[in-house]
Protein backbone atom coordinates (compact mmCIF):
# COMPACT_ATOMS: atom_id res chain seq x y z
CA UNK A 1 0.00 0.00 0.00
CA UNK A 2 1.28 3.48 -0.82
CA UNK A 3 2.20 5.85 1.95
CA UNK A 4 -0.59 8.28 1.02
CA UNK A 5 -3.27 5.68 1.61
CA UNK A 6 -1.83 4.87 5.01
CA UNK A 7 -1.59 8.55 5.89
CA UNK A 8 -5.31 8.91 5.15
CA UNK A 9 -5.95 6.09 7.61
CA UNK A 10 -4.00 8.02 10.23
CA UNK A 11 -1.02 5.63 10.26
CA UNK A 12 1.70 7.26 12.38
CA UNK A 13 4.66 5.40 10.90
CA UNK A 14 3.63 6.06 7.30
CA UNK A 15 2.99 9.70 8.04
CA UNK A 16 6.34 10.10 9.78
CA UNK A 17 8.07 8.43 6.85
CA UNK A 18 6.35 10.56 4.25
CA UNK A 19 7.20 13.72 6.18
CA UNK A 20 10.82 12.64 6.01
CA UNK A 21 10.67 11.91 2.29
CA UNK A 22 9.11 15.30 1.68
CA UNK A 23 11.73 17.03 3.76
CA UNK A 24 14.52 15.23 1.90
CA UNK A 25 12.77 16.02 -1.40
CA UNK A 26 12.91 12.39 -2.52
CA UNK A 27 11.41 11.83 -5.97
CA UNK A 28 8.62 9.47 -4.82
CA UNK A 29 7.19 12.03 -2.41
CA UNK A 30 5.56 14.15 -5.10
CA UNK A 31 3.18 11.38 -6.17
CA UNK A 32 2.13 10.81 -2.57
CA UNK A 33 1.49 14.55 -2.14
CA UNK A 34 -0.59 14.55 -5.31
CA UNK A 35 -2.73 11.76 -3.91
CA UNK A 36 -3.17 13.58 -0.59
CA UNK A 37 -3.94 17.02 -1.96
CA UNK A 38 -7.70 16.48 -2.49
CA UNK A 39 -7.97 15.54 1.19
CA UNK A 40 -6.42 18.76 2.49
CA UNK A 41 -7.82 22.17 3.36
CA UNK A 42 -9.84 21.04 6.36
CA UNK A 43 -7.63 21.67 9.39
CA UNK A 44 -7.55 24.91 11.30
CA UNK A 45 -3.92 26.02 11.19
CA UNK A 46 -2.81 28.10 14.16
CA UNK A 47 0.64 29.67 14.03
CA UNK A 48 2.59 30.61 17.12
CA UNK A 49 5.53 32.94 16.73
CA UNK A 50 7.61 35.11 19.02
CA UNK A 51 11.07 35.62 20.41
CA UNK A 52 13.19 32.72 21.74
CA UNK A 53 12.14 31.91 25.28
CA UNK A 54 8.78 33.67 25.08
CA UNK A 55 7.04 30.39 25.91
CA UNK A 56 5.81 29.23 22.51
CA UNK A 57 6.40 25.54 23.18
CA UNK A 58 4.80 25.72 26.62
CA UNK A 59 1.80 27.57 25.15
CA UNK A 60 1.46 24.79 22.60
CA UNK A 61 1.66 22.20 25.36
CA UNK A 62 -1.31 23.73 27.18
CA UNK A 63 -3.21 24.36 23.94
CA UNK A 64 -2.83 20.68 23.03
CA UNK A 65 -4.32 19.86 26.39
CA UNK A 66 -7.24 22.25 25.86
CA UNK A 67 -8.00 20.92 22.35
CA UNK A 68 -7.83 17.32 23.56
CA UNK A 69 -10.45 18.15 26.21
CA UNK A 70 -12.66 19.22 23.31
CA UNK A 71 -11.91 15.83 21.71
CA UNK A 72 -10.14 17.49 18.80
CA UNK A 73 -7.13 15.80 17.21
CA UNK A 74 -3.98 17.85 17.04
CA UNK A 75 -0.93 18.02 14.81
CA UNK A 76 2.09 20.00 15.94
CA UNK A 77 4.92 21.25 13.75
CA UNK A 78 7.76 22.63 15.84
CA UNK A 79 10.60 24.36 14.06
CA UNK A 80 14.07 25.05 15.43
CA UNK A 81 17.12 26.49 13.69
CA UNK A 82 19.77 24.49 11.86
CA UNK A 83 23.38 25.41 12.52
CA UNK A 84 24.80 27.51 9.68
CA UNK A 85 28.14 25.82 10.36
CA UNK A 86 27.51 22.10 10.90
CA UNK A 87 24.00 21.89 9.44
CA UNK A 88 22.99 20.07 12.62
CA UNK A 89 20.18 21.10 14.92
CA UNK A 90 18.83 20.63 18.41
CA UNK A 91 15.10 20.20 18.09
CA UNK A 92 14.13 21.06 21.64
CA UNK A 93 10.50 22.19 21.44
CA UNK A 94 9.21 18.67 21.96
CA UNK A 95 10.60 18.56 25.51
CA UNK A 96 7.76 20.82 26.67
CA UNK A 97 5.14 18.66 24.97
CA UNK A 98 6.39 15.15 25.71
CA UNK A 99 3.53 14.43 28.13
CA UNK A 100 1.33 14.09 25.03
CA UNK A 101 3.66 11.62 23.29
CA UNK A 102 1.52 8.57 23.96
CA UNK A 103 -1.78 10.24 23.09
CA UNK A 104 -2.84 8.92 19.69
CA UNK A 105 -4.76 12.14 19.06
CA UNK A 106 -1.53 14.14 19.09
CA UNK A 107 1.16 13.97 16.43
CA UNK A 108 4.24 16.11 17.04
CA UNK A 109 6.92 16.59 14.44
CA UNK A 110 10.08 18.68 14.89
CA UNK A 111 11.64 20.30 11.84
CA UNK A 112 14.95 22.09 11.39
CA UNK A 113 15.06 25.24 9.26
CA UNK A 114 17.77 23.75 7.01
CA UNK A 115 18.85 27.15 5.79
CA UNK A 116 15.34 28.47 5.23
CA UNK A 117 14.63 32.00 6.45
CA UNK A 118 11.34 33.54 7.44
CA UNK A 119 10.77 31.47 10.58
CA UNK A 120 9.63 28.23 8.97
CA UNK A 121 11.30 25.50 6.94
CA UNK A 122 11.01 24.80 3.23
CA UNK A 123 8.99 21.66 3.87
CA UNK A 124 6.53 23.35 6.24
CA UNK A 125 3.78 23.83 3.63
CA UNK A 126 3.76 20.17 2.70
CA UNK A 127 4.09 19.02 6.29
CA UNK A 128 0.91 21.00 7.03
CA UNK A 129 -0.79 19.31 4.05
CA UNK A 130 0.16 15.86 5.26
CA UNK A 131 -1.10 16.41 8.81
CA UNK A 132 -4.22 17.95 7.31
CA UNK A 133 -4.79 14.90 5.11
CA UNK A 134 -4.19 12.70 8.13
CA UNK A 135 -7.35 14.27 9.52
CA UNK A 136 -6.03 16.50 12.28
CA UNK A 137 -8.66 19.01 13.38
CA UNK A 138 -6.10 21.56 14.47
CA UNK A 139 -2.50 22.04 13.38
CA UNK A 140 -0.33 24.13 15.67
CA UNK A 141 2.77 25.50 13.97
CA UNK A 142 5.56 26.82 16.15
CA UNK A 143 8.04 29.00 14.28
CA UNK A 144 11.67 29.29 15.27
CA UNK A 145 12.29 31.95 17.87
CA UNK A 146 11.98 35.08 15.76
CA UNK A 147 13.06 38.70 15.86
CA UNK A 148 11.24 41.34 13.87
CA UNK A 149 10.83 40.34 10.27
CA UNK A 150 10.07 36.62 10.09
CA UNK A 151 6.49 36.76 8.99
CA UNK A 152 6.13 33.68 6.75
CA UNK A 153 3.74 32.13 9.22
CA UNK A 154 0.97 34.56 8.24
CA UNK A 155 0.81 32.92 4.81
CA UNK A 156 0.27 29.47 6.27
CA UNK A 157 -1.79 29.96 9.41
CA UNK A 158 -5.44 30.89 9.54
CA UNK A 159 -4.84 32.36 12.95
CA UNK A 160 -1.49 33.84 13.98
CA UNK A 161 -0.53 34.21 17.61
CA UNK A 162 2.42 36.40 18.52
CA UNK A 163 3.86 35.60 21.93
CA UNK A 164 5.50 38.42 23.85
CA UNK A 165 6.95 38.67 27.31
CA UNK A 166 7.19 41.65 29.65
CA UNK A 167 10.34 43.74 29.62
CA UNK A 168 11.40 43.46 26.00
CA UNK A 169 11.44 47.04 24.80
CA UNK A 170 9.64 50.35 24.91
CA UNK A 171 7.12 52.13 22.66
CA UNK A 172 9.46 52.39 19.69
CA UNK A 173 9.24 48.63 19.17
CA UNK A 174 5.51 48.88 18.70
CA UNK A 175 5.92 51.51 15.99
CA UNK A 176 7.98 49.21 13.81
CA UNK A 177 6.71 47.25 10.87
CA UNK A 178 6.98 43.48 10.81
CA UNK A 179 6.01 40.85 13.27
CA UNK A 180 3.64 42.94 15.39
CA UNK A 181 1.53 43.59 12.31
CA UNK A 182 0.72 39.95 11.66
CA UNK A 183 -0.83 39.06 15.01
CA UNK A 184 -4.48 38.11 15.15
CA UNK A 185 -3.97 37.50 18.82
CA UNK A 186 -1.20 38.90 21.02
CA UNK A 187 -0.30 36.61 23.86
CA UNK A 188 1.61 38.33 26.63
CA UNK A 189 3.01 35.25 28.31
CA UNK A 190 4.80 35.09 31.67
CA UNK A 191 2.23 37.63 32.79
CA UNK A 192 3.33 37.24 36.40
CA UNK A 193 6.55 39.09 35.52
CA UNK A 194 7.08 42.76 36.12
CA UNK A 195 6.31 45.10 33.23
CA UNK A 196 3.26 43.29 31.92
CA UNK A 197 1.07 46.42 32.06
CA UNK A 198 3.55 48.45 30.02
CA UNK A 199 3.54 45.88 27.22
CA UNK A 200 -0.24 45.73 27.24
CA UNK A 201 -0.64 49.52 27.14
CA UNK A 202 1.90 49.92 24.31
CA UNK A 203 0.15 47.25 22.29
CA UNK A 204 -3.25 48.84 22.87
CA UNK A 205 -1.88 52.21 21.77
CA UNK A 206 -0.41 50.59 18.68
CA UNK A 207 -3.69 48.89 17.79
CA UNK A 208 -5.72 52.08 18.25
CA UNK A 209 -3.57 53.78 15.62
CA UNK A 210 -4.10 50.99 13.13
CA UNK A 211 -7.24 49.16 11.99
CA UNK A 212 -8.38 51.57 9.27
CA UNK A 213 -10.97 49.14 7.92
CA UNK A 214 -14.16 48.97 9.97
CA UNK A 215 -14.84 45.33 9.07
CA UNK A 216 -11.30 44.13 9.83
CA UNK A 217 -10.53 41.78 12.70
CA UNK A 218 -9.48 43.67 15.80
CA UNK A 219 -6.47 41.87 17.23
CA UNK A 220 -6.93 40.68 20.79
CA UNK A 221 -4.43 41.08 23.58
CA UNK A 222 -4.40 38.31 26.15
CA UNK A 223 -2.35 37.66 29.25
CA UNK A 224 -1.21 34.11 29.98
CA UNK A 225 1.01 32.14 32.29
CA UNK A 226 1.33 29.05 30.15
CA UNK A 227 3.41 27.16 32.67
CA UNK A 228 0.66 27.61 35.29
CA UNK A 229 -2.11 26.96 32.74
CA UNK A 230 -3.50 30.46 33.37
CA UNK A 231 -5.37 32.45 30.72
CA UNK A 232 -5.68 29.47 28.38
CA UNK A 233 -9.49 29.35 28.37
CA UNK A 234 -9.58 32.96 27.17
CA UNK A 235 -6.95 32.20 24.57
CA UNK A 236 -8.96 29.24 23.27
CA UNK A 237 -12.05 31.47 23.15
CA UNK A 238 -10.17 34.14 21.17
CA UNK A 239 -8.91 31.55 18.68
CA UNK A 240 -12.45 30.25 18.28
CA UNK A 241 -13.82 33.77 17.75
CA UNK A 242 -11.14 34.49 15.17
CA UNK A 243 -12.02 31.37 13.26
CA UNK A 244 -15.70 32.25 13.34
CA UNK A 245 -14.85 35.73 12.10
CA UNK A 246 -12.83 34.29 9.21
CA UNK A 247 -15.62 31.98 8.16
CA UNK A 248 -18.43 34.55 8.56
CA UNK A 249 -16.55 37.28 6.69
CA UNK A 250 -15.52 35.02 3.80
CA UNK A 251 -11.86 35.46 4.72
CA UNK A 252 -11.45 31.75 5.39
CA UNK A 253 -12.20 31.00 1.74
CA UNK A 254 -10.07 33.94 0.64
CA UNK A 255 -7.17 32.66 2.72
CA UNK A 256 -7.43 29.23 1.13
CA UNK A 257 -7.41 30.83 -2.29
CA UNK A 258 -4.43 33.06 -1.52
CA UNK A 259 -2.59 30.08 -0.01
CA UNK A 260 -3.27 28.10 -3.19
CA UNK A 261 -1.97 30.93 -5.35
CA UNK A 262 1.29 31.21 -3.37
CA UNK A 263 1.69 27.46 -3.44
CA UNK A 264 1.25 27.27 -7.19
CA UNK A 265 3.86 29.99 -7.65
CA UNK A 266 6.30 28.20 -5.30
CA UNK A 267 5.89 24.82 -6.97
CA UNK A 268 6.05 26.38 -10.43
CA UNK A 269 9.23 28.26 -9.52
CA UNK A 270 11.04 25.21 -8.26
CA UNK A 271 9.96 22.85 -11.03
CA UNK A 272 10.67 25.57 -13.59
CA UNK A 273 14.18 26.11 -12.24
CA UNK A 274 14.90 22.39 -12.20
CA UNK A 275 13.78 22.12 -15.79
CA UNK A 276 15.67 25.23 -16.89
CA UNK A 277 18.92 23.98 -15.43
CA UNK A 278 18.43 20.55 -16.93
CA UNK A 279 17.65 21.89 -20.39
CA UNK A 280 20.49 24.39 -20.29
CA UNK A 281 22.96 21.55 -19.95
CA UNK A 282 22.51 19.93 -16.57
CA UNK A 283 24.63 20.05 -13.44
CA UNK A 284 27.99 20.11 -15.25
CA UNK A 285 27.05 23.16 -17.25
CA UNK A 286 25.59 24.96 -14.23
CA UNK A 287 28.58 24.18 -12.01
CA UNK A 288 30.93 25.42 -14.71
CA UNK A 289 28.90 28.60 -15.00
CA UNK A 290 29.06 29.10 -11.23
CA UNK A 291 32.85 28.64 -11.35
CA UNK A 292 33.02 31.32 -14.01
CA UNK A 293 30.88 33.62 -11.89
CA UNK A 294 33.01 33.01 -8.83
CA UNK A 295 36.21 33.80 -10.73
CA UNK A 296 34.47 36.82 -12.26
CA UNK A 297 34.97 35.60 -15.82
CA UNK A 298 31.30 36.22 -16.39
CA UNK A 299 28.62 38.27 -14.65
CA UNK A 300 25.26 36.88 -13.46
CA UNK A 301 23.25 38.90 -16.00
CA UNK A 302 25.14 37.52 -18.97
CA UNK A 303 25.05 34.04 -17.43
CA UNK A 304 21.26 34.18 -17.09
CA UNK A 305 20.75 35.39 -20.65
CA UNK A 306 23.11 32.66 -21.87
CA UNK A 307 20.91 30.07 -20.14
CA UNK A 308 17.78 31.55 -21.70
CA UNK A 309 19.39 31.53 -25.17
CA UNK A 310 20.29 27.87 -24.83
CA UNK A 311 16.73 26.96 -23.84
CA UNK A 312 15.21 28.91 -26.72
CA UNK A 313 17.53 27.08 -29.12
CA UNK A 314 16.23 23.78 -27.77
CA UNK A 315 12.83 24.82 -29.06
CA UNK A 316 10.57 22.65 -26.90
CA UNK A 317 10.14 23.40 -23.25
Amino acid sequence: MGLAKRVLQGDIRATARLLREVEEELPGATDELKALYPHTGKSHVVGITGAPGSGKSTLIDVLIDAYRREKKTVGVIAIDPSSPFSGGAILGDRIRMQRHATDEGVFIRSLATRGWHGGLSKAAANVIHIMDAMGRDVILVETVGVGQAEVDIMNFAHTSLVALVPGTGDWVQTLKAGILEIADIFVINKADKQGVNEVEVELQAMLQMGAPYPDAWKPRILLTEAINNKGIDDLMEAIRQHREFLVASGRYEAHLRERSRLELIEVLKSSFMDRVFRMAGGDDYVEKLIDDLASRKVDPYSAASDIIKRILQEGTF
Partner: protein, 140 residues
Protein backbone atom coordinates in the same frame (compact mmCIF):
# COMPACT_ATOMS: atom_id res chain seq x y z
CA UNK B 1 16.96 18.01 -6.88
CA UNK B 2 17.56 15.88 -3.82
CA UNK B 3 18.76 17.61 -0.70
CA UNK B 4 21.19 16.03 1.71
CA UNK B 5 19.87 13.20 3.85
CA UNK B 6 20.26 14.07 7.47
CA UNK B 7 20.67 11.63 10.28
CA UNK B 8 17.95 12.17 12.87
CA UNK B 9 18.68 11.11 16.43
CA UNK B 10 16.56 10.93 19.57
CA UNK B 11 18.54 11.34 22.76
CA UNK B 12 16.34 10.07 25.55
CA UNK B 13 16.35 9.78 29.32
CA UNK B 14 14.22 6.83 30.38
CA UNK B 15 13.03 6.39 33.94
CA UNK B 16 13.44 8.28 37.16
CA UNK B 17 16.89 9.67 36.68
CA UNK B 18 17.58 13.38 36.91
CA UNK B 19 21.13 13.35 35.61
CA UNK B 20 21.15 14.62 32.08
CA UNK B 21 24.44 16.47 31.80
CA UNK B 22 25.82 13.64 29.70
CA UNK B 23 22.74 13.46 27.48
CA UNK B 24 22.86 17.20 26.84
CA UNK B 25 26.57 17.17 26.01
CA UNK B 26 26.00 14.27 23.67
CA UNK B 27 23.07 16.06 22.00
CA UNK B 28 25.34 19.02 21.43
CA UNK B 29 28.12 16.82 20.00
CA UNK B 30 25.68 15.22 17.57
CA UNK B 31 24.44 18.67 16.57
CA UNK B 32 28.00 19.79 15.87
CA UNK B 33 28.48 16.68 13.76
CA UNK B 34 25.64 17.88 11.52
CA UNK B 35 22.86 15.62 12.81
CA UNK B 36 19.37 16.68 13.76
CA UNK B 37 18.87 15.87 17.41
CA UNK B 38 15.67 15.62 19.34
CA UNK B 39 16.12 15.56 23.10
CA UNK B 40 13.30 13.95 25.06
CA UNK B 41 13.84 15.69 28.37
CA UNK B 42 13.90 13.88 31.71
CA UNK B 43 11.76 11.14 33.23
CA UNK B 44 10.49 9.46 30.10
CA UNK B 45 8.55 6.23 29.99
CA UNK B 46 9.73 3.80 27.31
CA UNK B 47 6.31 4.28 25.65
CA UNK B 48 6.89 8.04 25.35
CA UNK B 49 10.36 7.49 23.92
CA UNK B 50 9.17 5.03 21.30
CA UNK B 51 6.21 7.19 20.23
CA UNK B 52 8.51 10.21 19.91
CA UNK B 53 10.93 8.11 17.83
CA UNK B 54 8.12 7.00 15.51
CA UNK B 55 6.61 10.46 15.05
CA UNK B 56 10.02 12.02 14.46
CA UNK B 57 11.17 9.20 12.16
CA UNK B 58 14.58 8.99 13.80
CA UNK B 59 17.35 6.68 12.64
CA UNK B 60 18.96 6.26 16.04
CA UNK B 61 17.84 6.33 19.67
CA UNK B 62 20.48 7.05 22.29
CA UNK B 63 19.31 6.02 25.76
CA UNK B 64 21.04 7.46 28.79
CA UNK B 65 20.53 5.91 32.19
CA UNK B 66 22.45 6.52 35.38
CA UNK B 67 19.90 5.16 37.80
CA UNK B 68 20.63 1.45 37.56
CA UNK B 69 17.30 0.57 35.93
CA UNK B 70 18.82 0.01 32.48
CA UNK B 71 18.20 -3.75 32.53
CA UNK B 72 14.48 -3.08 32.52
CA UNK B 73 14.25 0.21 30.60
CA UNK B 74 16.59 -0.49 27.67
CA UNK B 75 15.12 -3.87 26.63
CA UNK B 76 11.62 -2.45 27.12
CA UNK B 77 12.34 0.22 24.47
CA UNK B 78 13.47 -2.53 22.06
CA UNK B 79 10.36 -4.54 22.83
CA UNK B 80 8.08 -1.58 22.08
CA UNK B 81 9.91 -0.82 18.85
CA UNK B 82 9.28 -4.42 17.77
CA UNK B 83 5.62 -4.15 18.68
CA UNK B 84 5.42 -1.11 16.41
CA UNK B 85 7.35 -2.81 13.61
CA UNK B 86 10.13 -0.30 14.04
CA UNK B 87 13.04 -2.56 14.90
CA UNK B 88 14.96 -0.97 12.03
CA UNK B 89 15.67 1.98 14.34
CA UNK B 90 19.11 1.50 15.88
CA UNK B 91 19.28 1.79 19.68
CA UNK B 92 22.41 2.47 21.71
CA UNK B 93 22.81 3.02 25.43
CA UNK B 94 25.08 4.79 27.83
CA UNK B 95 25.49 5.58 31.49
CA UNK B 96 26.53 3.79 34.64
CA UNK B 97 26.31 0.24 33.37
CA UNK B 98 28.15 -2.73 34.95
CA UNK B 99 30.37 -4.67 32.53
CA UNK B 100 28.40 -7.86 33.19
CA UNK B 101 25.23 -6.27 31.88
CA UNK B 102 26.66 -5.23 28.54
CA UNK B 103 26.43 -8.64 26.80
CA UNK B 104 22.88 -9.04 28.08
CA UNK B 105 21.86 -5.64 26.77
CA UNK B 106 23.43 -6.42 23.41
CA UNK B 107 21.58 -9.68 23.30
CA UNK B 108 18.38 -7.74 23.97
CA UNK B 109 19.05 -5.62 20.90
CA UNK B 110 21.04 -2.65 22.17
CA UNK B 111 23.63 -2.27 19.43
CA UNK B 112 26.34 -0.55 21.45
CA UNK B 113 26.92 0.55 25.03
CA UNK B 114 29.09 3.52 26.00
CA UNK B 115 30.45 3.85 29.51
CA UNK B 116 31.74 6.82 31.53
CA UNK B 117 34.97 7.97 29.93
CA UNK B 118 33.89 7.20 26.38
CA UNK B 119 35.10 9.97 24.09
CA UNK B 120 32.53 12.12 22.31
CA UNK B 121 34.40 11.56 19.07
CA UNK B 122 33.99 7.79 19.44
CA UNK B 123 30.28 8.10 20.16
CA UNK B 124 29.69 10.43 17.22
CA UNK B 125 31.85 8.37 14.87
CA UNK B 126 29.98 5.23 15.86
CA UNK B 127 26.76 6.80 14.61
CA UNK B 128 28.42 7.95 11.40
CA UNK B 129 29.74 4.48 10.64
CA UNK B 130 26.86 2.34 11.84
CA UNK B 131 23.73 4.31 11.12
CA UNK B 132 22.63 5.46 7.73
CA UNK B 133 19.51 7.40 6.92
CA UNK B 134 18.81 4.77 4.30
CA UNK B 135 15.39 3.43 5.21
CA UNK B 136 13.69 5.13 2.31
CA UNK B 137 11.46 4.18 -0.53
CA UNK B 138 10.06 1.17 1.29
CA UNK B 139 6.50 0.53 0.28
CA UNK B 140 4.55 -2.23 1.88
Amino acid sequence: MVSERKLRILVAKPGLDGHDRGAKILARAYRDAGFEVIYSGLHQMPEQIVQAALQEDVDLIGLSCLSGAHMYLFPRVIELLKENEAEDITVIGGGIIPMDDIPKLKEAGIREVFLPGASLTDVVDWARVNVEPCRYGERD
